[in-house]
């Protein structure tokens, strides 16, 4: 127990449990509740079927100080993993080892310690501050790994829209009158979430990864805009040093991996998009991550009928985690318009279903 924990009151410790639990709940758009309960179960911590009963359990927690600290620390550990391995779009830039080493050493210069994001990190900023924040990432924290890799966190506001059905019964008479003749009323709600993007520089692998946190639904354009913002900042910082103002220009092309991943027999191919030589465009998908499309009768027979001559344009493939409790996956999501194109390109891979950095590293190792 550290000195601060020794002097903290029980109420303060419980407040910390609630703060980190609420922060973790805020990551639900990109870090599944199932992953949270999986961690809690493995650590023999309280768990529940949903966030409201789990929060209630933490609120009503009756335990020793040591146990409260254990729970807080476990929640913090899970939360920190959620900042690094949530559902994210990853673009990989291959650079030289010398460039990666220099970038790893110098990238910390981008951190703005005075920003609201940096002050609150790793916890999120308040809703009031988030509403005032911009949509471009603010570099707020640098994490160094033993192997020389560095992870630079950048936080920003991301906007989303949800559509909800409005119950006529909840409307007053005048509103109901105005909407007479409509069978259903749909309300559009605008919301904001805090995203935690990362730039990971790995000198040994000679790569720079830009990881866009998919804290809410994003389009291909959103990924490109976010990625370009970060490459511009990195090119501005290192362009002169490397005598190349377009140092980070084209990320690794994941398109050729679609056919490779399909052909490699390991894992589960849970979806495949392909344009056949019989003039059809097929988006085939299994109903679960542990089902393999390649072993499904309809797909097998169809592929046999066309002798496998088809142009793949998207794939989702997963591999069981060592403990067998989840299937971390990659989605390489090209549009059918690029199927069969000589210069087809997919600039990012979406990684999801990862509980921790080991899961994430396992999926990334499949994309080489």
């Amino acid at each position: 127990m550290n000195k601060r924990d020794q002097t903290a009151t029980e109420a303060e410790l419980k407040r910390e449990v609630m703060d980190v639990a609420e922060a973790l709940r805020g990551r639900q758009g990109c870090y599944s509740f199932r992953l949270v309960t999986g961690h809690l179960r493995a650590a023999k911590m309280p768990t529940a079927t949903g966030w409201p009963p789990l929060i209630e359990k933490f609120e009503q927690l009756v335990a020793s100080r040591e146990r409260i600290i254990e729970i807080r620390d476990e929640l913090r550990r899970i939360y920190e993993q959620s900042l690094m391995v949530s559902t994210r779009a990853v673009s990989v830039f291959e650079v030289t080892e010398a460039e990666a080493s220099a970038a790893a050493a110098g990238i910390g210069a981008l951190v703005d310690d005075t920003s609201d994001f940096a002050q609150a990190f790793p916890l999120p900023v308040s809703d009031t501050k988030l509403r005032k924040a911009g949509f471009n990432g603010v570099f707020c924290h640098l994490l160094k790994y033993e192997d020389g890799t560095v992870r630079l966190f950048a936080c920003c506001r991301r906007a989303y829209r949800t559509r909800e059905s409005i119950d006529f019964g909840e409307l007053d008479d005048s509103a109901r009158e105005a909407l007479e003749g409509y069978d259903e009323v749909i309300g559009v709600r605008n919301g904001f979430v805090q995203a935690f993007d990362s730039i990971v520089v790995n000198p040994k692998a000679a790569t720079v990864e830009i990881q866009i946190d998919i804290a809410c639904r994003l389009t291909r354009d959103d990924f490109a805009k976010a990625r370009n913002f970060y490459t511009d900042r990195l090119n501005a910082l290192f362009g002169e040093k490397f005598e190349n103002d377009k140092w980070l220009l084209l990320p690794k092309n994941f398109f050729p991996l679609i056919a490779t991943l399909y052909a490699q027999k390991d894992g589960y191919v849970s979806s495949l998009g392909h344009a056949t030589t019989t003039n059809s465009i097929k988006d085939e998908r299994m109903r679960g991550r542990r089902s393999d499309l390649r072993k499904e009768t309809f797909h097998e027979e169809g592929m046999a009928a066309i002798a496998g001559v088809t142009d793949e344009y998207s794939i989702r493939k997963g591999w069981a985690a060592p403990d067998g409790n989840r299937v971390p996956s990659v989605l390489i999501s090209g549009h059918f318009s690029i199927a069969g194109g000589a210069d087809a390109r997919v600039s990012y891979a979406i990684i999801d279903g990862c509980a921790d950095e080991d899961d994430f590293a396992m999926v990334m190792s499949k994309l080489k």
């Binding site: 199932r34 949903g50 679960g288 009768t297």
Partner: protein
């Protein structure tokens, strides 16, 4: 109203047929078509019989489908029973309550181990 026995026989013949060995799941709609029925209510007595202890050839299953995110998730019978008893079902990914959750829960059937043995046995 069609005789339950006739509906059961049609379903059993379908499951046991060599031509249908690929069947991993069956919906109410498919069972109706197999038995040549038009009213879903007519297939229910046969389904109750075939999922019961006397001739257990179908196992009921539930899945949750989120039409917004396209999530398809198998939900255990116990979890469905708990959700119904407590009138609340939590989204498997978000962990938040799902409004009108019954609309997102879908029942289907898989051939039971006995049915699979029957199917394989018929082709030995």
């Amino acid at each position: 109203m069609p005789h339950t026995r006739g509906v059961c026989v049609a379903i059993v013949e379908f499951i046991a047929s060599e031509a249908h060995q690929f069947v991993d799941r069956l919906t109410f709609g498919q069972l109706m078509r197999v038995a040549g029925l038009e009213d879903p209510a007519d297939v229910i007595p046969a389904v109750q019989y075939l999922t019961g202890a006397r001739l257990h050839l179908l196992d009921p299953r539930f899945e949750f489908i989120d039409e917004v995110t396209d999530l398809v998730e198998e939900i255990s019978l116990e979890a469905v029973a708990q959700a119904r008893a407590e009138s609340v079902f939590y989204h498997p990914d978000s962990g938040e309550p799902v409004e009108d959750f019954e609309k997102s829960l879908f029942m289907y059937f898989v051939p039971s181990p006995d049915a699979l043995a029957l199917s394989r046995g018929s082709n030995d």
